[in-house]
């Protein structure tokens, strides 16, 4: 080991605590920025090169480095995204947060020839004020990460020439993963477009055209379709209403044969009065003054089941869907059926 390499190693040991501080600072700021952008990533990883690894590097490339500042990967950070179009979003966050050494940063996505496939990753060499050493931030997708790791694991650093068939097969896989990455992004973009279209249809009131699914029902609930009924029920005992998530009712409306949001609206119109009758019967004789916002949809579904002859089994099925299967639900269904028998909507 030459004397300059020993000086570099001494400097490394002396500054290790500062590298650790910078590692925590940089990963913390980066994670916070991504979170504020609403960007969910698979991982933000960081590592500080070990002394043994640095020694190996200095031995292998002796003479290239004159001081520790020449080595830009002592601190390495990696952001692994789910989607390929998120790599550039992460890059923009890195650009905002840190000073980039553009001369030494590499976009490996652009260095491939049009007919070659392989390692794709964006590497920025960065710095922060008050810390004299540069560090590297790698940005790539989960699939690029998998490919790079497997390729690395099977020979990249061995120094032995890799057999042509292996190289060719790894290139084929890289090409395939590139296609899959693009496909995942395309699917995400289509799903976002579908959600926007559903939201627009819900907002415009064309509910008969909107298929009933998780996305459309979520948008529909934002219009608070049970609010009028809930307030009417709450007025019985001057109760307060605790707003709760109502997504569980999607399965019940599906069970009731609703295929579009228009079907749900029809059900609400048809059975709101019956739902109110059930609530009147049940709570007017109590002093209960707190209700959850699920009381309206719950009673509408009960009324729809009973009016269509679903009986005790139908109510039990609804309770099982909402609360999980339980024998207690069966007893409750029997009570509900008994209570409803005398209500006007059951005799119309």
């Amino acid at each position: 080991m030459d004397p300059i390499a020993e000086i570099i190693l001494d400097e490394y040991r002396e500054n290790l605590p500062r590298f650790r501080e910078t590692e925590a600072d940089v990963t913390g700021r980066l994670s916070k920025a991504l979170s504020e952008m609403g960007l969910r990533v698979a991982a933000v990883e960081a590592r500080i090169k070990t002394e043994a690894s640095l020694r190996g590097k200095l031995l292998a490339k002796g003479g290239k480095y004159h001081s520790l500042t020449d080595i830009t990967d002592i601190l390495g950070i990696r952001v692994i995204t789910f989607y390929i179009d998120d790599v550039d979003k992460v890059a923009s966050a890195v650009d905002r947060l840190f000073t980039i050494d553009w001369e030494n940063s590499v976009d490996k996505r652009k260095i491939h020839e049009i007919d070659s496939f392989g390692y794709l990753s964006l590497h920025y060499i960065c710095s922060v004020p008050g810390f004299p050493y540069k560090f590297e931030i790698q940005m790539r997708t989960l699939l690029q990460h998998a490919w790079a790791n497997l390729n690395h694991d099977t020979g990249y650093k061995s120094g032995v020439e890799i057999p042509r068939f292996y190289q060719r097969n790894m290139s084929r896989l890289a090409g395939m993963l590139e296609l899959i990455d693009d496909e995942f992004s395309r699917i995400r973009a289509e799903l976002a477009a579908y959600r926007r279209r559903i939201q627009a249809l819900v907002a415009s009131g064309n509910l008969d055209e909107v298929p009933l699914d998780g996305d459309s029902f979520r948008s529909f609930l934002q219009m608070e379709p049970f609010d009028i009924l809930n307030r009417k029920i709450a007025a019985i005992n001057q109760a307060e209403i605790e707003k709760v998530p109502l997504m569980d009712f999607l399965a019940v409306f599906k069970m009731l044969g609703c295929n579009t949001l228009g079907d749900v609206v029809s059900l609400i119109k048809k059975y709101s009065e019956a739902a109110y009758q059930i609530a009147c019967y049940q709570i007017s004789v109590t002093d209960l003054d707190i209700l959850s916002s699920s009381i309206g949809p719950q009673n509408i579904c009960i009324a729809a089941i009973l009016a269509s002859g679903g009986g005790r089994a139908g109510i039990r099925h609804m309770l099982d869907l909402l609360n999980g299967s339980s024998e207690g639900n069966d007893a409750l269904a029997a009570v509900l059926l008994d209570q409803a028998k005398g209500l006007p909507f059951m005799n119309q």
Binding site: L288, L291, S294, L336
Partner: protein, 101 residues
């Protein structure tokens, strides 16, 4: 109303014994307060010896549920009597909790 709070690693069990009515609720709310610190785990509300629950009692259950939801924990309501299950039903509280027989 007697309230027993038993902590066992990530599970806090609260046993309600007697009537959780309006007069009992102020003391009950204080008694369950320590469980709010453990809301990231599982809070089990053992109602096997609870004979009545009022709106004030429901509010205590709701407070625990909110704390658990905010902290990433969960609340399980155990062994409620048919009458109390009916109170949960008619207030729309039944599907707010995981209920175990």
């Amino acid at each position: 109303m007697d309230i027993q709070l038993i902590k066992n690693e990530a599970v806090t069990t609260i046993r309600f014994i007697g009537r959780l009515d309006t007069p009992a609720s102020a003391d009950a709310a204080k008694a369950v307060e320590p469980a709010l610190q453990d809301a990231a785990g599982t809070i089990v509300l053992d109602c096997s010896e609870m004979t009545y629950i009022s709106s004030s009692g429901l509010r205590i259950f709701l407070t625990l549920r909110k704390a658990a939801a905010a902290a990433g924990g969960k609340v399980i309501v155990q062994h409620i009597s048919p009458d109390i299950r009916q109170v949960f039903m008619i207030t729309g509280f039944l599907n707010l909790f995981e209920i175990e027989d």
